[in-house]
Assembly symmetry: C2
Homo-oligomer: 319 residues x 2
């Protein structure tokens, strides 16, 4: 019987609504991967609940007493413990170091990656994906991470110089959950690309009129019959993504030819489409950038053997 | 004992959350005024509930079997009955006429003023206030009606040519009711003028960055310590009003020297302050413009004697 490869590191991308967990061998190679709906909203703000949650997520992986490294909202005041923020501009490879917080876990310390802040914005979790993007050579273009709180990041030589946040996903969900726009929206159904494009074009062309006006159009158009209730969701999706893009381009101060999109395929496809309407191409890497970033930080922290940045560290970790 | 003056008209500005009711004599002079929290959200969408609601609101005024005229959301599909819309541009004095819908009320027909629509917007109730503004000679400047769904109207010689809607009040309430911005906001307290002005300046200066980003700053600034939880509401209020103003000015296509503000004193004062930061003066008339509009329409409809537009019609109505 072949000897089982022991788990050397459990790496966690532990966010608001879910936790993606990886079991890695001493070479940083994945042995397993799980996605669990145990985000910090579910686990709660009591730090005492987190060792048990980690045991549920990582399960038998912990039998090998691996090192544990986590990025994301788990390192916030509403998560396991507040791991603080590094100030931008920050060299992403330096996220490992004294600012990594260690808390007692079920089988040894759990290391929490700090977030990054500016005067007007904070991120947790994205900094590790951005490190992965920089390590993969994807940081020449602006990096866009669409989501509940989308981020647009500017990187130079592995340094995160500044970023811009847009609450696109949160506002989309909020507007369709309650209020006068949701009243005229049909339940979710088939995607209506024409409605999506219509919203996107309206958002791109009339951004100067302001989102307070453009969003409300979704309701008014149903009342006057120029939009169907089944089209409201996609019209709004196109409109909000267009508004995010228009605002982010103004923040960038220049119009890039291309951006890097990091995120789920369906959502990134929506962004690619609106970016295309704005004359900007988009590249979506196949790599798991959070994993790439976590493995790099683990090597920096000597949680894994091998030179940082080496994907194939050959030394075995002594235990 | 002096003879009591009979109520010739009950005029109603009947909106989403409340109903303002006026008892008028045959000369169109007010005999009484009431404000009741019986908006259409409370009364509901069953037309059969409205005669009873009117009896509750108008009470003993109905003993004289007056004519009844109502404007506002009561004439919507979610109110008593859908009174339809007139298409802008529309001569406001012509709102009376065949498009006024009559429904059976507790003591005779109730006349419902239609709303006004464009391709992208609808209004109900504001058209009657705008008629009042036009009759009062207040329509040389753009007329701004701040609120849940603020309206900016352009009038020329008594004709409503076009209007712009911003869901400022609704979004403000929504953002402070739930979601990640509300999580960092302290409960309502004393107004913080510095926070309000800070939000307003941010909204005026950085409108190009987009509301999806600027609103989220309210949260991020608390997390990084540059805004206090007690300041979030006023920061957001200034920011959203500034965003509305910036968008509306772009819609107007020119920067007016002055606008007319129609609405409650406290809210109009907030708008006046942000308009001032943008270099625009604001005039708020003392007149009750909805009442002025309703009296005019009542005369047009022969619900009151006297020439339309005459505030002192001398003929007594024969009954």
């Amino acid at each position: 019987m072949a000897q089982r490869t022991p788990v050397a590191l459990v790496a966690l991308d532990w966010g608001t609504s879910s936790c993606r967990a990886y079991a890695l061998d001493a070479d940083g190679q994945p042995l397993g991967q799980r996605n669990r709906p145990l985000g910090i909203l579910t686990v709660g703000a009591d730090p005492a609940a987190y060792p048990q949650a980690l045991a549920e997520i990582a399960g038998d992986w912990l039998d090998d007493s691996p090192a544990v490294l986590a990025c994301g909202m788990v390192g916030s005041a509403r998560g396991w413990q507040d791991a603080g923020y590094r100030e931008a501009p920050v060299a992403l490879a330096d996220l490992a170091g004294p600012s990594v917080l260690s808390v007692p876990g079920p089988v040894g310390p759990v290391h929490l990656v700090p977030g990054v802040r500016t005067v007007t914005g904070v991120m947790r979790g994205e900094e590790t994906q951005l490190l992965g993007a920089a390590l993969t050579g994807l940081d020449d273009d602006p990096v866009v991470l669409p989501g509940t709180h989308s981020k647009w990041a500017q990187l130079t030589g592995g340094t995160l110089t500044d970023f811009h946040t847009a609450m696109t996903g949160e506002l989309y969900a909020m507007l369709l959950d309650r209020g006068t726009v949701s009243q005229v929206a049909a339940p979710p159904g088939e995607q209506d690309r024409a409605a999506f494009d219509g919203g996107a074009r309206r958002g791109l062309e009339r951004s100067a009129h302001g989102l307070l006006s453009l969003v409300f159009e979704a309701r008014s158009r149903v009342l006057v019959g120029s939009l169907q209730p089944e089209q409201v969701r996609d019209f709004l999706s196109g409109l909000l993504i267009a508004a995010e893009i228009t605002g982010a381009l103004a923040w960038l101060g220049q119009r890039p030819q291309q951006v890097t999109l990091v995120g789920g395929e369906d959502l990134c496809e929506r962004y690619r489409r609106v970016l295309g309407l704005a004359g900007i191409s988009a590249h979506r890497p196949e790599e798991d950038l959070a994993l790439t970033g976590l493995v790099h930080l683990a090597r920096e922290l000597r949680l894994l053997p091998g030179a940082p940045g080496s994907e194939q560290g050959s030394r075995r970790r002594s235990r």
